[in-house]
């Protein structure tokens, strides 16, 4: 079946099997391997991407379900060569060790900060609760998100207006 998906602002049209998962479409067809394929059972959240501006688990969506819609992956976080504050936060606060969960963690964190620019630790933990990390014990991930909240990009106000909360 022919589908067209706009990924990080670029349109991609491909003929795919109905059984192809969105995560495999992104990695194997579009070639964006930043999105990780983890548990394959909707549990771990390594595969989280934005579908029409909300984070979803891309191992639980069929690629055909994304036809005509927009996807944002971790490769779409940076703007004009500048890392997103969330990406910088994970670097500054050592929010990762092996890095497997990191793309999904960062996609949900960006969404949280767009809706809630100053989240409490509890709000961060609740937002990230559908995602598993086996290295950090989550402490440094929470600190990384707080760092991003305290160091927003210059255009963050504008950016958060573009992405209307659902």
């Amino acid at each position: 079946m022919m589908i067209t998906v706009t990924v990080n602002g670029e349109r991609h049209s491909h003929d795919v099997e109905p059984r192809l998962l969105l995560v495999h479409f992104l990695r194997d067809v579009v070639g964006l391997t930043g999105t990780h394929w983890g548990c394959d059972t909707s549990n771990c959240g390594a595969c989280v991407v934005w579908l029409d501006d909300t984070p979803v688990k891309s191992c639980t969506a069929l690629a055909v379900m994304a036809d005509g819609r927009t996807v944002r992956t971790v490769e779409g976080l940076e703007r004009d060569g500048e890392l997103d504050p969330v990406q910088r936060g994970f670097m500054e606060c050592h929010g990762l060790q092996c890095g497997f969960c990191t793309p999904g963690m960062m996609m949900t964190s960006r969404w949280l900060l767009d809706r809630n620019p100053d989240p409490s630790e509890e709000e961060i933990r609740e937002a990230l609760s559908g995602q598993l990390c086996r290295c950090t014990g989550y402490e440094n991930i929470v600190r990384s998100v707080r760092w991003a909240a305290e160091n927003p990009a210059d255009d963050s106000t504008e950016a958060s207006q573009e992405v209307s909360p659902s």
């Binding site: 909300t54 979803v56 055909v64």
Partner: protein, 335 residues
């Protein structure tokens, strides 16, 4: 995942007809449960009929005050809607306590009702399970039963229904509207799901090809004073061990009317009619709440791994009633 055909339905009637015409067809909504079951080999449809393009994604108030929720409304949108938060707080609380944000952003109202049990044996195709493969036996009876049923189970199945949303809807007297290939009908939500009996393979009273198009919440002053409490193994992203949805109408310190539904205890959201009867018209006292909870759980038939849930359910119900009955601003809180 095995290959399958995929179609997009143009109308609810066409969707119902397409599924009814193919014995191995299934509706595709958000897919958060179905796609997982397909990956596990638990569901093996030959045709998916995608209903997500149908015009079923609105929340609207009808002239008589009923709130109609389209079957495709996302769980996160439903939880956040002002009509739901103010008039039916227990429903908003139940939704927000289920799954995690990433799944709530995808999961739909109709799909949430029709999600299937997470019994580990049901989801493991290498073990016998009467629900997955009728007549093969129940592995849970002598197995891991922490999340299994205390009430209304049978020798063939002790699985529980996993939805939080459905428990709240059951206590709010919700009605489900259904499009079948032959017409439309309405089913009280409390009668949608069934007990396992001799046929645990059937979760609901729906026939193959029946499509849920909406859930309607009748106007109810009592519903504004409602609450959902969920007890679980983690603070977020875990299924209920026990949950209680309660709506309460007080006249002074007497209970004029109430609704109670319990989750995590049965094959369906468990309307606690016995406790309701015990309490209706009586005093709103701790003693009375405990006695009613005791009466409701008298029929509990615990398994090896879930006996603790009898006490947990009694305590959870009594304390939820008590919280709702106590005056004071903290009970007006909303998430």
């Amino acid at each position: 995942m095995i290959p399958f055909d995929y179609q997009r339905a143009q109308t609810p009637a066409a969707a119902a007809a397409a599924v009814a015409a193919h014995p191995r067809a299934a509706f595709l909504g958000g897919g958060t449960n179905l796609v997982d079951r397909m990956k596990l080999g638990v569901a093996t449809p030959e045709l998916l009929v995608d209903i997500t393009h149908l015009d079923l994604d609105r929340i609207e108030e009808l002239p008589d005050g009923t709130v109609r929720i389209g079957a495709n409304v996302r769980n996160s949108d439903l939880a956040a809607h002002p009509l739901i938060r103010h008039r039916y707080p227990a429903l908003s609380q139940a939704l927000l306590s289920g799954a995690s944000g990433q799944l709530r952003n995808t999961a739909t109202t109709g799909g949430n009702l029709l999600q299937r049990t997470r019994c580990v044996y049901f989801q493991d195709t290498t073990t016998p399970c009467n629900k997955r493969e009728p007549g093969s036996g129940c592995s849970a009876l002598e197995g891991y039963t922490r999340y299994h049923a205390l009430l209304g189970a049978s020798e063939h199945c002790v699985a529980t229904h996993p939805s939080d949303m459905a428990v709240a809807m059951s206590a709010l007297d919700a009605v489900v509207t259904v499009q079948s290939p032959h017409g439309r009908r309405r089913i009280p939500l409390a009668e949608l799901h069934r007990l396992p009996g001799d046929h645990p393979e059937h979760d609901t009273v729906l026939d193959h090809g029946d499509l849920i198009t909406a859930v309607e919440l009748p106007p109810s002053a009592m519903a504004a004073r409602s609450r959902y409490r969920k007890v679980r193994d983690r603070a977020s992203y875990a299924f209920a061990l026990v949950s209680a949805a309660v709506a309460l109408d007080l006249d002074g310190d007497h209970i004029s009317d109430l609704r109670i539904a319990l989750g995590g205890l049965a094959h369906k959201p468990w309307r606690a009619l016995r406790a309701e009867e015990e309490l209706r018209g009586g005093p709103a006292t701790q003693e009375h709440f405990r006695a009613a909870a005791q009466a409701e759980l008298a029929a509990a038939r615990p398994l090896k791994g879930n006996a603790f849930k009898t006490d947990l359910a009694r305590t959870t119900l009594a304390s939820t009633l008590s919280d709702l009955a106590a005056p004071g601003p903290r009970h007006e809180e909303q998430r």
